[in-house]
């Protein structure tokens, strides 16, 4: 029997990452992921992006930990950061439940007078990114955030 093997070459579209890691998606690992990504940004000369990246990435990771894997003890989340033209691009991948369409459709700004105790996460992400894209493949979510540099 002949088996044909096709060699997979790295995608030309993806430049070398500034940071690339995969860890369990848990509230307790979010600071570890943030610390590694921020450290890589500083070492690569993108230290000025750290404040914004910390806010949006923390919210995206919290969403994965809380909503993508609600019924299982542990799931993985992968983060890849690179640059694309004038943007810093962050891809957050998980293998959990899809993001509900209503969540992606957007939300109005929270009214501070309502004193809500939640619902600020996606608002913070949308406030700080240039654009975001979401892709669902079989058993896999990719959220791509692009930030102006």
């Amino acid at each position: 029997m002949t088996r044909r093997i096709r060699l997979v070459t790295p995608g030309r579209a993806d430049p070398a990452p500034i940071a690339e890691l995969c860890l369990p998606a848990m509230d307790r690992t979010t600071p570890v992921i943030l610390s590694r990504v921020l450290g890589a940004l500083r070492r690569s000369g993108y230290g000025q992006m750290c404040d914004t990246v910390q806010i949006v990435l923390a919210e995206a990771l919290n969403n994965v930990a809380e909503h993508a894997y609600p019924a299982v003890a542990l799931g993985a989340v992968a983060v890849r950061v690179d640059t694309q033209a004038a943007h810093l691009r962050i891809r957050i991948t998980d293998w959990g439940l899809p993001v509900p369409p209503a969540t992606l459709a957007g939300c109005s700004a929270p009214d501070p007078l309502e004193l809500a105790e939640g619902g600020y996460g996606w608002f913070l992400i949308r406030s700080l990114v240039a654009d975001l894209a979401y892709g669902r493949q079989v058993c896999r979510n990719d959220l791509i955030l692009r930030l102006d540099m």
């Binding site: 600071p31 929270p110 600020y120």
Partner: protein, 112 residues
């Protein structure tokens, strides 16, 4: 997460002795604030000098800490670091809380 309480003539200062208030500590923060504010009266000053980062869960916990106050109690904030200030500004929660540059400044200026 450790909250250090110092009564002063003008307010009960609650210093957050942690670098983050986030999803993994928000619930604990909220419960400790409930105990502390139940045990005293009047004005509380949350000193965030050491807090470098707050996420939406932490923000929700600070809001909850204010909502669980009794009549006659008030919660004010002090010493917001850059990322924390940014989160409050973006969500416009900076319009809800009285925010001071430092907790010391509050003691100096009395009820002002």
């Amino acid at each position: 997460m450790e909250l250090i309480v110092t009564p002063t003539p003008t307010a009960t200062v609650i210093r957050v002795n942690a670098s983050r208030i986030d999803a993994s500590t928000a619930l604990q923060f909220k419960e400790e604030m409930r105990s502390l504010t139940a045990a005293a009266e009047g004005r509380f000053m949350l000193d965030l000098q050491q807090v470098d980062f707050i996420d939406s869960s932490g923000l929700g916990a600070v809001v909850a800490s204010m909502k669980q106050l009794r009549p006659g109690q008030v919660l004010e904030l002090a010493a917001l670091q850059p990322v924390v200030a940014k989160v409050f500004r973006l969500t416009r929660m900076d319009t809800i809380f009285t925010i001071h540059d430092t907790a010391d400044q509050v003691s100096d200026t009395g009820q002002g």
